[in-house]
Assembly symmetry: C2
Homo-oligomer: 200 residues x 2
Amino acid sequence: MAEASADRGRTTRQRLLGAAAALIAEAGWGGVSTRMVAERAGVAPGVVHYHFASLPDLLIAASTGVARAMLEELTARLAEQPDPETGVEWLLGELSRYTGTDPASLLIVEMYLAAARLPELRERLHELVADSRAQIASWLRDRGHAGDAEATAAVLVAAVDGLVLHRGLDPALDLTALAGPLRAMVRTDRTDRHEEGSGT
Amino acid sequence: MAEASADRGRTTRQRLLGAAAALIAEAGWGGVSTRMVAERAGVAPGVVHYHFASLPDLLIAASTGVARAMLEELTARLAEQPDPETGVEWLLGELSRYTGTDPASLLIVEMYLAAARLPELRERLHELVADSRAQIASWLRDRGHAGDAEATAAVLVAAVDGLVLHRGLDPALDLTALAGPLRAMVRTDRTDRHEEGSGT
DNA sequence: TACGGTTTTGGTCAATCGTCCAAGACGTTC
DNA sequence: GAACGTCTTGGACGATTGACCAAAACCGTA
């Protein structure tokens, strides 16, 4: 078989994915063209449609690949934190690395944007977010969070995305100063037990 | 003077703004063309560049206009709530009207994400958000929130935006089930007073 | 009726776009 | 060396884009 050719093809494919991810961050989802990707990857313009059925296909594969890696690492390291309170503190410190205008932040933002128009991307992104939410919820449960761990995790993940979004508007926003409210939220066990049930 | 002509112009301008806002939600920020807006507004294609310097100019004016009206009404009605706990409860109910796929949600989302590329839009949106944050913070202070009202307001607004974003990914997400964590957050006064200072 | 400022018209321009394809290049197998 | 599968090349196609402009239309005023 022509295994060497296939290898060459896989390398090219990876280069296309990398170039696409970088360009989404630089030019925006709608600002990426097949020719730009090809040039960045150092290949001829036509090669894009050999490896991918369409431009959106390429962009979806590229963005979800990067996002999955980022999210999985973040949730995994969060789960290593001993308790929710130091966890959110660590989380804010980690998020401070994202200014909202750096490539990673922009890629995430662009992906959320495009997800509103592309059902396939929306589905994949939904999976990623639901996954993180579930992992964080179980981490909260394991660490003695007696409130509704699912609800707390949902708000926490939403707050993280919202903060990244707001960071783009105002890079001066000091995330570490927001630990107070988040700490209060992750330990609802002793503070919010009067009228409603305690979760699932 | 030709006051009647000027009046006609103002009406056309308003129609362009309305058509642009609707189309941003329908087709996405990058999916709107001058010809689409003109057709929707019932005018000739060239009229867009008579009333606006460029297409981005039109889109920025249209989106910030709608967003300002929405945000101001939301924060004003939130400030009418008697205390933070019922306030966030009311807020979640209000947010439930936005499915994440309705025109209003889509417009807001598109605007946030376009702001990453357009400095002028970013600046205007930053003003709007900072304004809401400040108003909510002072409302929290007035209602006896002894924690860092600024920080709480920042997290609250970020969570709201994040939830709208996540709602687009998962319309089944039940916002009213998330009251617990938010309630815990808005009354940090009796629960988070040990090591750090109490606000500004 | 003729003039004035203002708005509207409909079309042109060069540029860019996604997609497609026939031809060539490469490395392996017979 | 010939045949083969795989990948790559560079250009072509029709469609769409933002911006622009000369000319026409409108309406109160003189």
